[in-house]
Symmetry: C2
Subunit: 399 residues, 2 copies
């Protein structure tokens, strides 16, 4: 019998307990042993739930129990998650977490404590829980050099943009719908303004760069300024507006951003619907691979946590673990490189050699530029604004 | 220094040697040791290649070398691949292979020999080399129950169908183009008639059913009868014709097939282009996940073989390994269950209550049925054939 503890009996914590119970047979077959939840830390009591007999209110009870091999930190927030995690690792216990805030801010330090104590610190569920992307990168793609990661990493915003397209809804209407369905929080800022996605791409960027990428250093723009006219302009150009998180290594440079981008219809990312997420990798030998699944959700997140628990228990967690240095890596904005841009305008059409394609759209027109620098983009928009009006500019996804 | 041997210095074998060389740094970092190719078995000599100093002509030299821990079987064909593999496993060496013929026919027996000798038998590269699907199923998805696998598993046929759509080409023209580009063999039957895909879905089916699924028992239909009119009919219904391989567990039944199917445009599989492949899983907690990448190609296949070599060397291969019983599992044809069908017809439109949607298309018309049984399908086509002519029928993909 292998014993674990769960910190937090909220949505994810109760999901982890449920998943372990539901997959008892599969787990026993693979691990050659049962996994028992020995203790669940929570401030609350759950008198009507069988879990009550496992509830503890004091972390020390878990820390001091030598039988507990793995701690699943699913409380969220930075403190005391950081303190509990570092203490557990230093006590020789593996820690698995779904807490992107913890991983983004403290991942380097915690992985180093884990490494020094011969245990693992795993966090699949912190980045797109329903897509086993971290495990894939750390086991199947060891021999690959990953140059670029491009993804739809936030289900809330993907749902909203899709609803705007399908229903011709405004951003505000679509947000209200998402909130009514529980796909967006009452205070939706973290999702809408792109910070959820930038935390996740910061973690992925740290993994591929080997240094600490802070989410606050990732140029981030959310979807609150995207209009239905923008979406129609993209459709007119045979594509979609998607909130794209990306990071890229090129020569000695490192780039990252979160922004609404124009994604051509033939690109797999254009087909990612509803609350689903997807991560596209460009790597040395496989070239393009894409991984698609639920970004969030109780069972999806819990499933990822359980996969980490099993990897920790079978000993593979230590091998898989991705450790990056605490040295800061500040990404450049990809816009400093030449890019193509979708420009939506009102007023008379303007001729301009840097506009490769111009089409009428609704009450105005939209154009796709050639590959141009930021300076050229400024010159083009200035020229258009002399005779007409630039309403929106979206960078086109790199392919 | 960890030592391995490669059997066969053809496209894949030379790719494996090249990938190990190219990813020397990544491998050393992860494994904590170098990996050296100690011997390469081939009947030929390669006097102008540095590999010549590793070339051996006798398998015994590899079998008897206690330093060699892993054998990469990349020769292809059933014999002597089967003999070499079973001998190597029985001698306590891990074996990794790209040989789907070997795995489909002998996988149960070989995995059992591996298990009995405490070594691993891994075959990521035998099923869609550029998509780490087996490793994902065996490590990230242990806790999931996988109900259904649906995939585009053959790049040759996917390329041909896409070219027919993009260029308005006939099947024969598109096949000739694929052959000219090296995407199809001179004798293209295994790809065109669906047998490559059925071998792969047989392996996947064995993995999820726990019993041996033989590819000859998988109802298989290739693309040689698909016409440009069929493709246009699908487009008119906002979808595509794709060669789909699927297997499914439902209640106590097990289904599998390979056939050209109608895939609605919103389905992620409709967006899989060119020679790329994709595997979509339906599982208990993640619900839908999709994995997309190159199905074949020297570097993609070699990358998968190297990932298996590393898993074997780090000890995780034994844990990952998926062993199915030699007991035969004969799949049912999914058509025995109710399905929806795309029916392309010529002549006058026929009214029929089981046809949910009918649209003009080219010189004829096309219809989408409600969900109907095989008997109902027969009745519908009989009725149409009294007044008009049924040209093609395609089952609609299950979602």
């Amino acid at each position: 019998m292998r014993k674990i503890a769960v910190l937090g009996y909220g949505t994810v914590g109760s999901g982890v307990v449920a998943v372990l119970d539901k997959s008892r047979k599969e787990v026993a077959r693979k691990l050659g042993d049962q996994v028992e939840v020995q203790a669940v830390l929570d401030l609350r009591d759950f008198p009507n739930d069988p879990i009550q007999e496992k509830i503890v209110h004091d972390f020390q009870a878990i820390l001091d129990n030598p039988e507990i091999e793995v701690v699943a930190e699913v409380m969220g927030g930075l403190h005391p998650a950081f303190e509990y995690t570092s203490q557990a690792l230093a006590a020789g216990k593996h820690v698995v977490t779904s807490n992107k805030e913890l991983v983004e801010a403290k991942g380097a330090e915690l992985a180093e404590i884990a490494r020094a104590h011969g245990v693992s610190f795993l966090f699949e569920a912190s980045v797109g829980g329903g897509i086993p992307i971290l495990r894939t990168i750390n086991t199947a793609l060891i021999q690959e050099e990953i140059y670029r990661i491009t993804g739809i990493l936030n289900g809330t915003t993907n749902y909203i943009l899709e609803l705007m397209e399908n229903a011709g809804a405004s951003f505000e209407e679509a947000l209200a719908d998402a909130q009514a369905r529980g796909y967006a929080e009452r205070n939706p800022e973290a999702d809408i303004e792109g910070f959820d996605a930038s935390r996740k791409i910061a973690i992925l960027g740290s993994m591929i760069s080997g240094k600490h990428v802070g989410f606050k250093d990732v140029p981030t723009r959310g979807i609150s300024q995207v209009t239905i006219e923008d979406i129609e302009a993209a459709l007119a150009m045979n594509g979609r507006i998607k909130l794209i998180a990306s990071c890229q290594k090129e020569d000695d440079q490192f780039y990252a951003s979160v922004e609404p981008m124009f994604v051509p219809g033939e690109n797999m990312l254009a087909s990612v619907n509803s609350v689903y997420n997807a991560v596209m990798l460009k790597s040395s030998m496989l070239v393009d691979t894409l991984y698609y699944g639920k970004g969030a959700g109780k069972l999806a997140t819990a499933s990822a946590v359980v996969a980490d628990i099993l990897a920790a228990l079978n000993g593979n967690g230590i091998y898989e673990m991705n450790v990056w240095s605490g040295e800061k890596k500040v990404p450049e904005n990809p816009a400093v490189r030449p890019n193509r841009y979708l420009i939506r305008c009102e007023g008379p059409e303007v001729n301009e050699v840097l506009l490769e394609e111009v089409i009428h759209c609704g009450a105005g027109w939209t154009a796709m530029t050639l590959e141009i620098t930021q300076e050229q983009l400024q010159a083009v928009t200035d020229k258009i604004n002399q005779q007409a009006k630039v309403c929106s500019v979206f960078r086109k996804i790199e392919e």
